[in-house]
Symmetry: C2
Subunit: 480 residues, 2 copies
């Protein structure tokens, strides 16, 4: 058996793959954005068991082309407008190559000092770009960490808050702890609460204006307010929770405040968007997903906390086999104690490459170009009186729907009819494979979401997407 990491064979196959992916980007518009396969399609195409003997990379790549590509949705396509983007870039990709190539397992400082130190440095860099208060940066005794996802980051901060609180008021209060979000908070919060053992009946989804009363009522009922998650740029419509007043309520009740800016946080490196996180100094922790709108592929969630020791108290373990002088000296950060997992990838590498390859100036321009295209799309929608914009556009998400001709006097039926019509419209445009958008339901209304954010998207794609929508809407309306 040839050594599976033989450098010359690695080189040969590596170059082959680079061309494969470069060609994929070249041809990406020829694929249907949304995969059109049926459940179970792949099982019919692949063998029942792993092969006993090796297969060549040429055979495997043919199979990727024939069997895998038709089954993926092309998140990197310029015609991808669904959910939120997760858009790569050349710099990110190179960072992944370096991090996979070195494959260091940076659980603590000692296991690969550069991995930890570079992470501390880029988290301070990015924190400064966002004008986070110094108290969130290492230079101000806070600090940042790269987690996989927002789900993990929220779970870690929730566990930290929980243990701090139970330490103060006794572990028998576990059942009394209450977690607050709004009805538009991402399901990450609910999931974190489930995993952290918060009683399901103590999870509150309430309108932000009603928070104080709700908390007060809970206190009067003998419960213990614990954690509040505020969102800047909600998943459905990019609504903005008012951080400052929420933090005031939280402060009065001694709650931990986490600010989730998974998507919109990236935009806050532009001075004109920074105001959306005004008041952040009152929060305990803050996250954004670089893997959404910051030219970075999965997974890369940036978490900053004011008080790392709260995380560490809750998440550290100190087994014998990891003891080392650097840790004992307390001069180093051991990131294993800042997160759920022990083993961790060298994620700072890709963020470092993105920051350096593009620079602050181009990163801002890149985000602005998406917002500009979203404005254009919004205008196109507004200029067509068959359509309606369904929520204020804060960043590069436009929420809209087609308006039905009123065909019934009952309002309930009209709502239902509009929803069905828009569902049909979305299915029809997505089924065409020409564009991919997603949907949500807010206050009973079915809404189509168009987010401009794929790295390859240019103005012409947006204009074409709009044409596709108009055509399908016309066909649908004339049919109905």
């Amino acid at each position: 058996m040839v050594n599976p990491l033989d450098p010359e064979e690695f080189r040969r196959q590596g170059h082959m793959l680079i061309d494969f992916i470069a060609d994929y980007y070249q041809d990406i518009e020829s694929y249907k954005v949304l995969s059109q396969v049926e459940p179970g399609y792949l099982k019919k195409l692949l063998p029942e068991s792993a092969p006993y003997y090796p297969e060549s990379i040429e055979t495997i790549l043919q199979d990727v082309q024939k069997y895998i590509i038709p089954g993926i949705t092309h998140w990197q396509s310029p015609n991808y407008f669904a959910y939120f983007p997760s858009s790569g870039s050349t710099a990110d990709f190179l960072g992944e190559i370096l991090s996979t190539g070195f494959n260091v397992v940076g659980f603590n400082w000692m296991s690969s000092p550069a991995a930890t130190e570079l992470e501390c440095i880029v988290m301070d860099w990015l924190g400064e770009m966002l004008m986070l208060p110094k108290s969130f940066l290492f230079k101000g005794n806070g600090g940042g960490v790269l987690q996989g996802t927002t789900c993990e980051a929220i779970l870690c901060t929730l566990a930290a808050a929980r243990d701090q609180m139970l330490n103060r008021c006794g572990s028998e209060k576990m059942e009394k702890l209450v977690v607050y979000g709004s009805d538009q908070t991402h399901s990450a919060l609910q999931k974190a609460a489930q995993i952290a053992g918060i009683h399901t009946k103590n999870f509150r989804a309430i309108k932000t204006s009603k928070l104080r009363n709700a908390v007060q009522a809970d206190v009067e009922a003998g419960l213990v307010p614990l954690f509040l998650c505020a969102t800047v740029g909600t998943t459905s419509t990019n609504a903005i929770d008012p951080i400052e007043p929420l933090c005031e309520v939280a402060k009065d009740f001694n709650m931990w405040v986490h600010v989730d800016a998974a998507y919109a946080g990236s935009a806050c490196i532009c001075p004109e968007f920074r105001h959306f996180i005004d008041g952040i100094e009152g929060a305990n922790s803050f996250t954004l997903n670089a893997h959404k709108w910051f030219l970075t592929t999965l997974d890369c969630c940036c978490l900053w906390v004011k008080d790392p020791s709260a995380l560490i108290k809750s998440l550290s373990t100190n087994p014998e086999f990891l003891r080392n002088k650097a840790t004992d000296s307390k001069l180093v950060v051991d990131y294993k104690d800042w997160q759920i997992t022990l083993s961790r990838r060298f994620r700072a590498m890709k963020l470092w490459l993105v920051l350096r390859s593009y620079g602050v100036a181009n990163l801002r321009n890149f985000l602005r170009s998406h917002v500009k295209m979203a404005k254009l799309f919004e205008e196109l929608v507004r200029n067509d009186n068959k359509f309606e914009v369904m929520a204020p556009r804060n960043f590069a998400l436009v929420c809209f729907r087609v308006l039905p001709w009123p065909n019934d006097n009952s309002v309930a039926n009209q709502v239902e009819y509009a929803n069905e019509l828009n569902k049909e419209l979305l299915e029809s445009i997505n089924g065409s494979g020409n564009v991919y958008m997603s949907s949500t339901v807010v206050d009973g209304a079915y809404i189509i979401r168009c987010v401009i954010g794929a790295t390859l998207t240019e103005e012409r794609h947006v204009i074409r997407a709009w044409k596709v929508i108009q055509e399908h809407a016309d066909a649908l309306l004339s049919k109905n």
Copy 2:
């Protein structure tokens, strides 16, 4: 600004990076395995802030060479024998390139069907290679999922077990739930228990032979036995918990049994090692880390469960913005409900490439070659009466220490002296940069751990490592 994903620029820079990594593997033996930098070294070398203007990839790569490489520990070096390996391979690397290149966010089936379906398929393939009972495979109504790490996998199964139990006996029992491991169980269990809100005083680390009595005593004290983690191949010495008798105890008390074979599980694809997981049919869940000893880089933990619905009940959320027909049809797997995180990478790709590129035959040979080299190393240790083997060798980990000349009649002092001597020896060999090994403490004895598992390691490296140890030991013994 040039498009940051321009295919031709991507191609140019991509090829450059492949050569960079291929050269790195070529030259890897010229680097000191264990990084010799001091805490804070990198801050002194990098700028205070992110650059405003872009920098070229050439400049960045020079910095990687100058500043990063000296600060990493070379986990891929053939002279790396520490902790457990995390060894890549060309196939794995290509899989990562594909998965990063496509960058699909496969939270549910719908978001990229191939990502989910390929994962189901390779998990059944690998499950069969391990001769797992059919009840752990999709074809037997169980199933497998690729998590990031064992820490996450244990947390998920623990949350599932917890919620199932609380559902049965009432949520007010939360404080009464007890989790069991041995004193050699990985800290992943303790951490999972902390995060899941298990009361710290209800975490037990007990010898496996004493399990039944301990559980019985807990029941008599009004506690609720919940979860047992058995380990096949403990982190310190590769000890094997007896799965069958442990499962019997667990069954009598209705506990969930998780079998953690993070490192050693891979070897069980060889018929001669399969017996180490005999009795697995009595467990509820099983994990191995492909990112340890299966030619796969971080992160890739394989988790199989008998009852996916228990996981799903505990971990699912169903927000509006993710609703879709495929999910409603119940014909598909939505992996977001099998794990902590929503967003997830296309990890199946790398496992698929590893399985196909090497085939079952070569994968077995590869693992056997490491075991054979470990046997050789063990023999070298045994043949030198200045050294002592400290634990039975089951796989490719050899635990040993140098024996001090008795210089003191007090036994307590002798233990202390031996520990200090071996600590000094390890520091001295690791400080040389020629090899890297790690340590543990078992029953008060400080032990040096040598694991053969880096993909590039050949017999000559093992022989040389032994020479390095002997030389350093001689120098030390003659000094003392």
